[in-house]
Structure formats: C-alpha cells, structure tokens
Subunit: 366 residues, 2 copies
C-alpha cells in the first residue's frame, strides 16, 4: 500500500477528522465537495462547510499515489495511523479556492501563502483512523487537558452543564477577553476555554507559553466548576468570516451550545471588515450552525465606570479608558515591566515577561 507522510498541518486536520471534530466531514474532501465549498461554502450534500480540507500533493506524490486503492497515512513522527479509503486525486483552481476562502489573493496573507505553496493537486477520501489511536494523543504539556470532542463532551456531562459557551483564542487572555468570557458565562451553565494550539504564524505567542497563561488565569480567576480548559489542536488559517463558521461547527461538535465571536474573528492584518465574521454568522443563522454565536464589541477597562466595559455599555470619553497597543504591551513585557492590572492580570504578565526573557536569551545564544 502506498503511503502519504502528512505534514504537521495536514496531520492536525487528520486528527480532528478522526475525532469527529469536523463533522459532517468524515474524510478529506473530494472534488465535488471541493467545488461546492469554493462556490457556496457547502458540501455536495448541501451541508454547510467552509474549508476544503484536503492535503495538497506535490507532482511526485501525485504520481506515486495515482491509482492506489487505499493509502496508508503516516504521522509526522513516522507512525502509521490508519488509511485513506477510496482515495481521489484531483486538481483544483487554486486561485478560485483562495479568493473564496480568504477573500484576497495577497500572497502575504498567511493562509493564502500556505495554500499557494501546496499547489493544485489534492487528495480526497474517507479517513479510516481509530479515534483512540495513540499517535493522535496530544503531546505534553497539552495532554494535561481534554483534547478530543469525546473527552470534552464527557467533561461537560460530568459537570452537568446544559448550556456551554466556547471561547476560541490564539492569544494570551488579557482582561478584555476575560471580560467577554465572563459576560458570556453569566447566563449559561459553563465556559469552555478552548485555545487553538495547532499551527499558527511565527509571530503568534507559542502555544506552550499560552498554555501556562490559561492555566494560571483559570486557577486564579474562574470557578473550577464553571470553567473548563480544553485544547483545540487545529491549524490556524486566518480566514476571518469562513474560519468563524468553521469554529462554530467545530465547537458544536465539541458539545458547546454558544460560541463567542468578537471583532475581526480569526482575522489577520486588514483583510476583513471588523464585523464581517459576525455578519456572515448572522446570515447563516444559529439553526444551521447548530450553535448560537454570541457577538461582542471591543472591550476595555473604564476608570469612570470602575469596570470593564465596551462601547455598548460605557458612555464615557475614551480618555477614561485603559488602552495599550500591542506594540506597547510587547515593549513593556520585553523590558520586564508589568502592564496595568486593568489590562492584564499580574500572574499572566509575569508569565509573559518570563517567556519573553527566555526567548530573548535563547535567541541571543543561538
């Protein structure tokens, strides 16, 4: 049987497919599904799905796999994890896929860059992988927390939560996002803090550093029985509105009933309108998403309110608001200085200061 060695991104997708996190997908998409996803964000069956999840093949891989009745799937670590049944190799219009998925064809966009690099040959087929295969387990330190939909659903059930709001993030959680999670938690039973720990772009903060921040924040500032930290090991595509749809579908599969969507969800640079993701989710609607999106504005600490707030809930002048740019925060952390407690919890700031110092030292030593 010929074999395909998956790169880390494709392997992340494979793992989530095997776990059922990408349902209704049960494999890498075929040509007819690919066309429907590009044209109207739907599989050939009509089901909503925003991304054409299918490994790109090089010319030589295509030649090697052509005509195979079955393909062995090999993890980046070298383990055989299962097979791809009824494989279908096809060629796509990369430019059409990129424009539909990312709304831009700028090669500087990190998602566009990955897709361009992959080229036009794709591999579809049914994923035959045991969800419990040990090669799918998360590596330390991420294995301290539930990773699969089954594990998360079971943790939710054990807590007796009927309604659960999920929070996707690829950043440390500062006060502004802590506020969103708590506002969203108040009227439901539980909060699923669900950071994306798959592949991100190089200047995002590494997942292991973020993990320590999430653990410290939950330990210090959330009730044990109301907040659950779990891992979402998907790669980041930075596709804005379509990725918001993707995140809704995933979190529905993980057992959440509500999903937090802030400004510029899953965006990067200036490619998407601030509310483009919220608008698309409104258009699709909670019924078809299978989960209720909960929309938020930009939030901040307001000295006149004496609390966190947003433009919706605070009438005061922006001079009353504690605002720090990303650049300013990075400068403070690099200098070993604490941002104000209204911006970030001291425990989180200290972890980020330590990580910045360690990264600079190892950078200097290399």
């Amino acid at each position: 049987m010929p074999a395909l060695h998956l790169d880390p991104r494709d392997f992340s997708d494979l793992r989530l497919l095997a776990w059922g996190a990408y349902e209704p997908l049960s494999g890498f998409v075929r040509a007819d599904d690919h066309a429907g996803i590009v044209a109207e964000m739907r599989l050939a069956s009509g089901a909503l799905f925003p991304f054409a999840v299918a490994p790109a093949l090089s010319d030589s891989q295509r030649d090697e796999l052509r005509g195979a009745a079955e393909i062995e799937l090999i993890a980046p670590g070298g383990e055989a994890v299962g097979t791809l049944a009824e494989p279908e190799i096809y060629t796509v219009d990369v430019d059409a896929e990129i424009r539909a998925t990312f709304g831009t064809d700028d090669p500087a966009h990190p998602g566009v860059a990955v897709t361009l690099q992959g080229g036009p040959h794709r591999l579809g087929g049914k994923v035959v992988v045991d969800a419990a295969h040990p090669a799918l387990l998360l590596a330390p330190p991420f294995d301290r927390h539930p990773g699969s939909p089954a594990a998360v659903r079971s943790a939710i059930e054990a807590r007796g939560w009927r309604t659960v709001v999920a929070f996707q993030t690829r950043n440390p959680i500062h006060r502004a996002h802590e506020y969103l999670t708590k506002v969203a938690l108040e009227p439901v039973d539980g909060l699923l803090v669900h950071p994306l720990v798959g592949e991100t772009k190089g200047d995002d903060i590494p997942a292991d550093v973020r993990l320590r921040c999430y653990e410290a924040l939950l330990e210090g500032y959330y009730p044990d029985d109301r907040a659950l930290l779990a891992m979402f090991p998907a790669p980041m595509r930075y596709a804005g509105p379509r990725e918001a749809v993707f995140h809704c579908i995933n979190r529905r599969n993980y057992g959440a009933t509500h999903f937090i969507v802030g400004r510029d969800h899953a965006g990067v640079g200036d490619y998407y309108g601030t509310y483009a993701a919220q608008d698309l989710l409104r258009e699709v609607g909670a019924d078809e998403l299978g989960i209720t999106p909960v929309f938020f504005e930009h939030s901040f600490f307001c000295k006149a309110c004496g609390s966190m707030a947003s433009a919706k809930t605070c009438p005061h002048d922006t001079g009353e608001h504690v605002h720090l740019s990303g650049t300013k925060v990075r400068e403070l952390l690099a200098a070993g200085e604490m941002p104000p407690v209204e911006f970030t919890r001291p425990e989180i700031a200290q972890l980020l200061i330590d990580a910045t110092r360690d990264a600079n030292q190892s950078g200097g030593a290399s």
Copy 2:
C-alpha cells in the same frame, strides 16, 4: 348604559389591555379563560397566559351590572374611557385561583390579599378603548418616557435595534443589577430599562423616587444610543414564577427579544424557590414565550476580581465580596451616609438619601 368605576389596579390593567401589552388578551378574561388560566396557565384557545385579569365586583356592583349589554368604563379620575362589550359576570373559586396563581393561600402575601379582598364575582368582556385615549396617558413625571408598546417599539425601530434585552425592576438599580443589565446588553443591540411603575406594596420605594434614580443612572453610566428608559405601568402581583411568564409576554409585546430573569423574580418573602421562576420559563421555553429569557445568579463586587461578578464567574472567598443587607442599606441612607461605590453609584445613593430625608420630614409633619 351602566358604568364601572375602576380602581387604580384594574385601571392599570385596562390601560395595558387597550395598549396591546397583554396580547393575546383583548379584554378582561371570561369564565372559560379563567378556568383554563387557573388549571393550566392557558386561555380557552390554548394560548399561554398566567393571570386571570378581570375586575372583581362587589355584590352591589354585580347586581347593578347584571344583564347589561355593554358597560361604560370609568377611570379613577372620573373620565369615561370606553366600554366593555359582551360583558360576562361570573363567579370563581377564589381559593383555587389564589393557589394556582401565587402557590400559597397565605393572606399575608400581598397578591393573595388583593385577590381575597376582591371576592369571587368577576367581570369579563371585550375592552373597547381607544389606545390613544388621553386618559390612558401616563401622569407626570412618568410621561417623560415612552409608556405604550407602540411608543417603545417605535423608539426601538428609530435606534435600528434588531435585538433588545428588557429589564424589569421595582427597585432602584444598584451596581449588582447594573451589572446584569450590562452583561445582558453586551451581546445584543439595545437595552430596555423597563421599571414597573404601577401599584406596588407600601414598603417598596415610590416610583417617582425610582424614576429619578433610573434617569440619573442612565445619564451617567449607559450610552444614549444603547439604553432606552421606558415605563411599565402594570400593578405588581408578587406571583413569582407566573409573574415571570407574564413579564416575558408583556416585554415581547413591547418589542423586546430577550428578558432578564434573576433570582426570585417577582417574588416576595420566602414564598418561592430562588430559581422557581427560571425553572418555569425553561419549561415553557423561548419559542412559546416569544422572547428569550436570560438567566442570572446573585451578583456582587469582588475585591479579588476587581470587578462585579457572580458565583458563576468568581472563585474567591465571600470575604472578598462587598455585601450589604437591605436593612443595612436602609440604615445608611436614613443616616445620610453613602453606601460603598462598589454597592451603588454615588448619584443614586444621594437621590435615595434625599428621598429618605424628605419622606421622614413629611412623615414627621403629618
């Protein structure tokens, strides 16, 4: 044509009926609707409705109105405001109504007391009253704000809000309830602050004092374009779970899409379980209510969180929480002392101190 002089409570109901606030009711309920409401909280048509809204008649009123083809309706101020068509006089099982409505037959319960005082004779019929009749207008100072469903819906439309969360209250809004309103506002377009300004029990704070508090709070702490103050001139029945259903139906008719339900909603004393109202609304469901209830826990300022929170969002010891009993607050206000800013906004505290002083002075002079 014989006439019925309505007392203030029945007149409040008449006004809201004429305004369409009690839809699907279009008049005072008849015997068949009364039976359905008592037995299963439903009109004879099957539509959900929790209160048997129908004036009680004394023996002499019953004798006087018996056999009338039409009855003139007279406001407490003496104005004729319209007629009751196809009147039906009937006799009810007061004890059954009281138990179904209030879950208790304790005559110390303020809603039970009013119903017992009314006695068993009731008047049903179609209310033929022009919604724009000047006698229905709210009296100063309440006429500074929209009162009717039509006026509130028009104000909502003018602001372009698609989703609106309504907040019912019969108390001044301290920080804890400000928090609930802002948490509920964050994910929707607008907030309808909708105090009940009809008849309440004697020890509730008078509606005109509360009005000044609401105005000051919205002026100082809510954005103009996100919060709307409107009047809900219904009498208070203190019926807990059934009144929560009633409040949901009313606010749906006022154009709200969401409705805040805290602990012991519309309760009094210890007659209802803390979450009995929330449980009943969950059982009925948002689809039949026509509005989505948003449930909350007890909230407080937590010094360790540095913010308002609830048991759901704060893990810290209660020693970190700012808690004041109702008795303690009344003592502070009576002594002219400010409660902590974490408990109430200084502007609101000052208004309540002034009102307490004025009430004591006029009490002393009488």
